[in-house]
Symmetry: D3
Subunit: 227 residues, 6 copies
């Protein structure tokens, strides 16, 4: 239930070792390894290219045009966390800038995912605090209405529970339920391990048609070559 | 957790009496009464005007372009239910038409909410089976990949648990957590009861400025009248 | 200048006779007659088909998620006015419903144009109070922050001054500056007067190519017929 | 090749009998019967509900903000045709209104599909001339630049050749290549013929799970029922 | 009034000293300092990151697909100006490229804001002429229809008068009415001056909850901490 | 006709010399030189700035969420080709990543244009394989349904035939029909050759008003200067 005015202090963070393993993997590999669930909609984009993080979720439910809960959330951050925020209605305001980023970074946060807007883009880049957002906007927010911290939220179409692992890079953002962190890391690493050999074979000119034995199933499906 | 390949058979439906009371109330009143959470994004629109339903949620998680789970869901429908469906990725395909509607209606469903497309609009209207959807599309779907039925889902930005009450009308769609059904019905009916008197006073020409004693707070906030 | 916290009481309404003449003309004809300026963006749509109004503008500048100024505006309405509202940031909330509509109608307003959302669609239709809006949403608004009434505003990309004539029908919404009301009515009526004869000739099978003598300019422009 | 300034006079219209058979079938059924190609994007919507047409395509390539070619196209219309228009760039202008509709109808056109805007909605409805469009807009167009008539065009993501069959109803718009008209009518009628029996069985409470023998493939795919 | 075919030569530019002071401030700070009005919608984005300008507005009203007025505007540019352009209808065409940029830069313009598209992105970056636009498009424009220069315009939802100060950076674009330039510079500098100390305290680990004394108002609003 | 399950092996590629000449020209210049047809919609954007390619089209028709045909297409690539892909329905999935890029690059492809999503952005940049796409998404695709290779396709609103020249840079993507390659190269080079002199004159402060003799036509059109 989306209850307002709640801060949950003790949350069950995903296994730390599994989280660190996921930090080395890309969002695409992790998404595949999970069976293709948990992806945020692709309108969520990094504010600058090249960032790549993973960490445990501190969730924030925001009200439209109001970033009060970010200050409440700051106190709940532990080193290695990623803050992830949904809003109760669509909003593109700039909820977050360099001051809050300084605070979050000082508490140990690795980045922010927000289904709304941010500002101070240049400063956030300079201080190396990555954000994935729906919009960039100069418009600030007020501090007047309660949301919640560390309750289950919806962010860009994905359900997030506090303590889940968030993996974010240039390709997008994936949520790994905390109970699945280890098995997902296992599966993702396994996928990754096969890639080097395949890349070499592709680079040498071998075709996927042959590497994956696709010619027969394609013919069965009815593919016709014409000249 | 968004687990695939699961059908939960025994779900805790919201209190029936409370559900029937909510059926008589509009989505706007219910949303206010809940403290302004639980609203689906306004891109979800009724396929024809004038429908107004409430019922207990049978949730469906669909794969893009695949409506297999709707047949699985049909068996889980009880009279008074509303089927509500999310998709693991954005899709506008026409997942649902008059045949499935005939099946759902025969099982007792009052309507469908879907974060994707539907088709057979004219037939659905004729048979009085209301649908709220993101799109209308002739494009059909296949039956190849598992989703789930009666797990927690995200639909148009809102979290839905099986058994929650869904209230839908021309203004939009609201999700009332099953545990809140009674208190929400209480609060919503109370709001509603005040409306008749207010409407009469407005119709007689009284201003909201006076009815709600707004002149003083407006002046305090700094409102200036100029000529 | 977009100043907040201002209500202008004495506005110069467009000539009443010209306004009534414009009431009989469609938005498309009026837009042409003005030289193709003054049109609101086409995402502004009527909440039900068939409404057609014209009236003098009472302008409202709203804050996101806050409809306080509508109550202030109600007192400024005179019979024959149309209320037109912009917002300082993008918002789809349902700012306006049947209670406010009862108040506006009692004061003599002919309709509402709003660059945001409305609700109580069914009731607004039943009471015959037309609205052109960007969205329909159950989400209500608060009353906490000042906007302004009867200052120049931007609504859906168009500049509106208090007292301008607003013409709205199924095709869209056009703003006629008050100083242009008469000459626009003249020009629009003239355009309209030619239409009947043209319609008859088209219905009889005459081609626009001949009626407008287009064959020569088309040939000059290089049009080639092939078989 | 998208050549400008061309009018092709003699086009090969699809077989008339096949076209009439397709007129009785819905866009969804026809799209399935064709193997799921040929559908216009679902942002193309009818301007009023309930229209259902099929006819042979007269194609028009328009320039942005310029409807000159519609007058050229009018001369190429034969009874039973549907005019379908693409634009060389995105545009929402109101290219078409009641005068042109009178002309098209007089020449025998059954309707218009346009990847842009139209106006005079109320009049088009009154005269029963259906249009499927991307937008509704009061904004008119000029007559200054050449496009083409009866060349291959792209409309809302679909390729259309002159003479193809266009099927349009409340669910969307489908293009049937003229060479495929008969076999598509065959396949679509066959699909349709099965529907009555299925509908009766669904109405009697039979489940799709049983009607389509889905229980075994679902179990094989790994579907788990829990309580 | 949006009059076409007008060029105003003598415009009242904002105070030069105030403009230079605003050049050193970000769009977010300036927007706050103005009381949160004057912001362009966030779909207006810089074509390359890192640019930051302020200057006095030369306004241009363009017709869709027609950039004739840019040549007229070039003559009205004075060193320190920023050109800002609206369009009478939605358009994404590439109105502006490296040749016009060379001309504008030679006349002393600091950049361009346009509610449409631009092209020659690579060249504009190389010559350090920043543009904030709605789109990037190879599609050129013609020179056939009159707009206006230095009349009041609407650009991306904001009203702009010639001579206003435009502040643009990676976060967005803000319009400061010329009469407000000084007081806005005062207020913005004051806001800015507090930021350094706050940043240091956040970096040292102090929480906003304590720095801004939020704990009591949060408790009063009903915030509950649970474990 | 959009036929599924077809691979055309022998396609007529555009003249190689003309293609190489077009490689040196920008998409904007080429689009003008062709008479303003053939442009992909501007939502197609490069995944990293600065890439600029031209090559002969290998076309791919994809099914939603299915990239099987890319492996079939790889075998049809010849050095100097550009792969260009449309989808039978709207989709933002990540169809293409670094493994397929390695394969395409090994076969001699210069880049990819896709009316859907891609992933492995960082790796694609590092290996210098440019892509122009509608979206970026971690979501992978399956290999289950046939599309076609080297048939006429629609990509982002443009018709593409196999063998056409594709020109892509930071401004967008243009399709040059193979039969037009030479004359387009001629016309584009001619346009380009005039630019250097104009740039120098603009840089020296000459106005377009004078350079293009616009003062008289502007006056004729009715332009009025006021002070």
């Amino acid at each position: 239930m989306t209850e307002l005015g709640i801060v949950k202090r003790n949350i069950q963070r995903a296994d730390q070792a599994a989280t660190e393993r996921l930090t080395k993997l890309g969002s695409a590999t992790v998404h595949e390894a999970m069976g293709r669930v948990g992806l945020l909609k692709p309108y969520i984009r990094p504010i600058y290219p090249g960032a790549h993080i993973a960490g445990t979720a501190v969730t924030v439910l925001l009200q439209p045009g109001d970033n009060w809960m970010f200050h409440v959330a700051a106190e709940q951050i532990q080193p290695g966390d990623v803050v992830i925020a949904g809003v109760t209605a669509e909003c593109t305001d700039g909820y977050f800038g360099d001051l809050l980023a300084t605070s979050f970074q000082a508490q140990g946060a690795r980045g922010l995912i927000i289904d709304a807007g941010v500002r101070d883009i240049k400063e956030l880049h300079a201080m190396n605090f990555p954000v994935w957002s729906k919009a960039i906007s100069s418009k600030g927010t007020i501090k007047a209405t309660l949301g919640s911290v560390n309750i289950p939220i919806v962010c860009a179409g994905a359900m997030v529970n506090p303590g889940d692992v968030i993996v974010a890079d240039d390709d997008g953002v994936v949520v790994v339920p905390s109970a699945w962190a280890e098995k997902t890391a296992d599966a993702a690493e396994k996928r990754e391990s096969f890639e080097g050999e395949k890349r070499a074979r592709f680079a040498a000119g071998e075709l996927g048609l042959d590497m994956y034995n696709m010619r027969e199933p394609l013919a069965k499906a009815g593919l016709k070559y014409i000249d």
